[in-house]
């Protein structure tokens, strides 16, 4: 009897259980305020998953960086930059997905690796380095797009011409498995899988935990700290570029303003999941739960048509409660 209660207490101490409870509380809210039964229909859940996927993808990269004791403020801007570049390549230049997607991914990796190199090689603080990249990438997005959305309509002297909608975007926008799951959600789950593999199964992942826990100790025990950091930011850049492609597909255009303040949502998702902002502790499954929590919160507020003021206050209150709840364990 004692043993069982101890085991239950130990279970409750786990961050995963805490994150799950937070999600269940939000789901209970959804059941309570179900907007005439809307909450019980699968479309609602499918659309929620589709909408939150881009944020979830960003949060995967953010989790990796935060576990290594860093932060990446540039993800929103890199998303905007790759959305523009992706639209340029796919819509305007009509390149096939096999060329356009790798090019965009390379761009994202290059952005991330640049930030990582500045942090590892020149010891610039992650906050500053990624802040600089955030500003720079937004500028690059505006420069490449000329301040306009990159869409199918192209202005010519004789009026507007319409280009074909790229197959890649068609594919990303599609729903599969009998119209039940959006393709972007699968991209998100794929990112979760890759991140999980890296963090929980591969050696560089263990290095990242070590660096986030105690950097000098990691360095002294022979962990290649610099390389691991570059890897972390490069992964974050890669995920940001994937999210950027999804963004362009869902918007059917590349908007240079896309992704403004998305980095804050990504950080909120990671923290609500229970990954520690001070580094060294956390995991990708926590982020998956955090993504669902934020996604359902937004959806429930939306189907009930709660006003903007109420939404902002409720979201703030729930983020604080969730984090306090996570911290409640010893």
């Amino acid at each position: 009897m004692i043993k069982r209660s101890q085991r239950l207490a130990a279970l409750l101490e786990m961050p995963f259980t805490r994150a799950l409870i937070a999600l269940l509380v939000i789901l209970a809210l959804g059941v309570l305020f179900n907007a005439d039964g809307t909450f019980f229909r699968w479309d609602t859940h499918r659309d929620m998953l589709r909408h939150i996927s881009r944020f979830g993808i960003l949060a995967c990269g953010m989790t990796i960086v935060i576990i290594a004791g860093g932060i990446d403020l540039s993800v929103g801007s890199v998303l905007g930059l790759t959305a523009v570049v992706s639209a340029k390549l796919s819509i305007h230049m009509g390149l096939s997905a096999w060329v356009a997607v790798p090019l965009c991914c390379l761009l994202g990796i290059a952005c991330g690796a640049l930030a990582g190199a500045l942090i590892a090689r020149f010891s610039i603080q992650p906050f500053i380095a990624t802040l600089a990249l955030m500003v720079f990438a937004r500028g690059a997005a505006k420069f490449i797009s000329g301040g306009k959305k990159i869409s199918q309509g192209v202005e010519t002297p004789e009026g507007f011409q319409y280009l074909d909608f790229p197959q890649l975007y068609e594919f990303l926008n599609a729903k599969i498995l009998g119209d039940n799951v959006a393709v972007v959600t699968l991209v998100f789950l794929l990112c979760v899988g890759v991140s999980w593999l890296l963090l929980a199964r591969l050696r560089p992942g263990r290095h990242l935990y070590a660096i986030g826990g105690n950097e000098s100790a990691a360095l002294l025990s022979g962990v290649p700290v610099g390389m691991a950091k570059v890897l972390a930011y490069a992964m974050s850049g890669l995920f940001a570029s994937l999210a950027g492609i999804c963004q362009a597909a869902q918007e059917t255009q590349g908007d240079p303003e896309a992704g403004v303040s998305y980095e804050l949502t990504a950080i909120a998702i990671v923290v609500i999941g229970g990954t520690s902002l001070s580094g060294g502790r956390g995991g990708i499954l926590l982020t998956l739960l955090g993504t669902l929590t934020i996604g359902y919160l937004e959806k429930i507020l939306s189907i009930n048509a709660v006003g903007e003021a109420g939404r902002l206050m409720l979201t703030g209150a729930i983020i604080v409660s969730a984090v306090l709840f996570q911290r409640g364990r010893k």
Binding site: G147, K148, S151, Q247
Partner: protein
């Protein structure tokens, strides 16, 4: 460690200088006519117009600058220098002072906020520099003229159009720009007035912050909740387009009509041409008119204090003819049914 840092700094500085050199090509010419003083100088002089835009992040404002640029291109006596305040009021205050110091002959300003910019603009105006205020008015009297459109009238025209199109009854969704913004309020209030006593019920309304992805999400909720929607009124075209994308994803885009506002050539009018929106109501930028009035002011002519820009609406039927004026009475060639 030393060397790489030095290299990095050198690279960054070189790049910075290159970018600045690229941007400032026009600066020396712009500053040149400073010494010649008063705008009433004889013909053949080049006039420098300083244009301060509050935020080039919005496509509508990009269009405003483009309209000014194109209108000014036709006159080789005009030279326009553009500045972007990037949504920062204090930066825009500096623009006014910079233009004053550089000896601009006339200022066009599309202010971010009224109160903080009233002072600097008054200062320039009192020094004898004419000021044209675009889109958002300033306080007081110390500027030459104001040019802007009326969101309330445009919203009302949209309401009347919807009332007529739906034969006075139906269920609609309203995707609002931002309830806390003046344009959002005006486009809503005008719309309600335009609907009048018709049996048209707004079954779902939400804030989409003028953003297409947010409009898409809100529309998904509306679609999930309501089995029948007759029309979606978006406070801007990206909002209406986001709603269309959501409806299309649900296979319900044929069931309803989509109405937007702004009518930019590369945005709303393209959506109308493709049959996505049933109508878009132009919110004119006033860029072209600003240049026309600037020419008059520089030539010493009298101009009105306050100009309300006429607005057009675009449907698939009248698009080719260049739209139709709202109110309809003095519509140009497009008046035929």
């Amino acid at each position: 460690m030393r060397k790489p840092i030095a290299t990095l700094v050198a690279v960054v500085l070189t790049a910075g200088v290159a970018v600045l050199a690229g941007c400032s090509k026009s600066a020396p010419e712009a500053a040149a006519p400073a010494e010649s003083g008063a705008p009433s100088a004889p013909e053949k002089k080049t006039f420098v117009i300083g244009m301060s835009q509050c935020n080039l992040g919005e496509p509508w404002r990009v269009q405003m600058n483009k309209d000014i640029e194109e209108a000014a291109k036709a006159h080789d006596t005009l030279k326009v220098v553009f500045k972007d305040a990037q949504n920062d009021t204090l930066v825009q205050q500096n623009h006014v002072r910079e233009f004053m110091n550089q000896g601009a002959d006339l200022l066009i300003i599309s202010p971010r906020e009224a109160a903080p910019l009233t002072g600097p603009v008054a200062e320039a105006y009192k020094k004898g520099i004419p000021v044209i205020v675009l889109d958002r008015a300033l306080l007081g009297e110390d500027f030459t003229m104001f040019i802007g459109a009326d969101n309330r009238l445009i919203g009302e025209a949209a309401g009347k159009w919807v009332r007529e199109k739906l034969n006075g009854q139906g269920k609609i969704v309203e995707l609002m720009g931002l309830q806390t913004s003046v344009p959002g309020h005006d486009r809503h209030d005008g719309f309600v007035k335009g609907l009048g006593d018709a049996a048209i019920e707004t079954i779902f309304s939400a804030d989409m912050k003028w953003l297409q992805p947010d409009a898409q999400r809100e529309m998904e909720s509306a679609l999930a909740r309501f089995p029948k929607i007759d029309l979606v009124y978006g406070h801007n075209d990206p909002g209406a387009y986001g709603a269309y994308l959501a409806a299309k994803a649900a296979g319900r885009e044929k069931e309803m009509l989509f109405v937007g506002i702004d009518g930019l050539p590369h945005e709303g009018r393209v959506y109308v041409e493709k049959g996505i929106l049933s109508v878009t109501f132009e919110y004119p930028t006033g860029g072209r008119e600003a240049v026309e009035y600037a020419l008059k002011i520089l030539a010493g002519e009298q101009v009105p204090r306050n100009v309300v820009l006429p607005s057009r609406f675009f449907t698939p039927e009248n698009l080719a003819a260049g739209g139709e004026l709202i109110g309809g009475s003095d519509a140009p060639a497009a008046a035929a049914p």
